[in-house]
Symmetry: none
Subunit: 216 residues, 2 copies
DNA sequence: CGGAGTGATTTA
DNA sequence: TAAATCACTCCG
């Protein structure tokens, strides 16, 4: 008599959490298994996202392998990398959109309002802090002194957050006159200068310099 | 209003087949797209190999480009090359397996039974003939006088037909004594000699020489 | 348990 | 490196 559907203790989770593995008996996926977790109160969890939402910051599931129920340190590196990339892309989308809409007359006001980061930026991953994002901002301000061609891939339109050419701002490829160039450069310069001032005034630039993620 | 996820007719396939392109919306691969095909009965196909297996010899997908859904005559040359290589690898898989199981006492009998090629060898690609395979056999008998290391890739286990190191026989990397080597060499020599005799006796060697694929 | 959507792996 | 295939997750 085989004992299936047994709820096992799961040392990687807080005391009282149980893990269960159920083998599929028929169909195309016969032989595959589903893994479930049960909270101390008996609530059932069917996926890692569901588990993460429930546990929140009380447990870091970054390197938790849902299927085995064990911590896999190897996963940590990949997750960190992925989160950083997502943050960075989101930041650029956000920032370039801001710059694009600026006119020189309202740069300062705009920059100040920019300090409220959009929801998407704030909610990416449990380990994400405003500090990390601002660090990215500070970095980005100093890294591009190259020719600007704009985004050439059509994919950028559909999914700008990921498909941006990371060395180019968010705008389509364009043809411009010399006057256009001067005008645009002025706007960008003013916008950047104002942002830097705003950052300094707020003490945020310092925070950005001393972030824990030093390997960006 | 953008129309996504629309199943389009695909003129390159038989009537009733549809093609669909779906853009990935999130995650690391956001912005990339997946192409699917649907048979007249609604079955979904997610890759060219899967499609090929289903259509078998009823449609020649040699120059079919899965992503665009169109026939690309330029692909033909490459495919011919690839098919030949696959045939060749399949042959070696087959033959080395035969040799591996031989004992010197039953070499001749084994060789004669080997003339029935296994199904996998006979059904690869619409243009494949026994003649082509026998040509490959004849070639292979005379081309390898190199050090033998065996197959080192773990992938060879899963997909031997394609992933064989084409300069090495089908066996795992091994450690052997001098005696092992002499014993094995004897077996291989005898097996090859017997095969050559069998080929000659059956008139197959001639067929192998005059195959249409002269550019192997 | 199915299957669309996405990650992971392998290949050219 | 990017593209193609394959495997898996996750939620209905």
């Amino acid at each position: 008599m085989i004992m299936e559907r047994k709820r096992m203790d799961c040392p990687a989770l807080p005391p009282g959490w149980k893990k269960e593995e159920v083998i599929r008996k028929s169909g195309l996926s016969a032989g595959k298994s589903d893994v479930y977790y049960y909270s101390p109160t008996g609530k059932k969890f069917r996926s890692k996202p569901q588990l993460s939402r429930y546990l929140g910051n009380t447990v870091d599931l970054g390197c938790f392998d849902f299927r085995t129920g064990k911590m896999m340190p190897s996963k940590l590196q990949k997750n960190k990398q992925r989160l950083r990339n997502e943050n960075f892309s989101l930041f650029k989308l956000f920032w370039e959109k801001r710059l694009k809409g600026l006119r020189s007359s309202d740069v300062t006001e705009e920059v100040l309002r920019s300090m409220e980061l959009p929801k998407g930026l704030q909610s990416v991953g449990p380990a994400t802090t405003d500090e990390t994002l601002l660090s990215a901002i500070a970095s980005a301000l100093h890294m591009s002194s190259n020719p600007i061609t704009g985004q050439t891939s059509a994919a950028a339109e559909k999914n700008p957050a990921v498909w941006l050419n990371t060395s180019q701002p968010l705008c389509k490829a364009f043809v411009v006159t010399d006057e256009d160039i001067r005008e645009q450069e002025l706007k960008v310069h003013q916008a950047r200068k104002s942002l830097e001032e705003a950052l300094m005034a707020d003490g945020l630039a310092r925070a950005a310099e001393s972030t824990r993620d030093t390997d960006i």
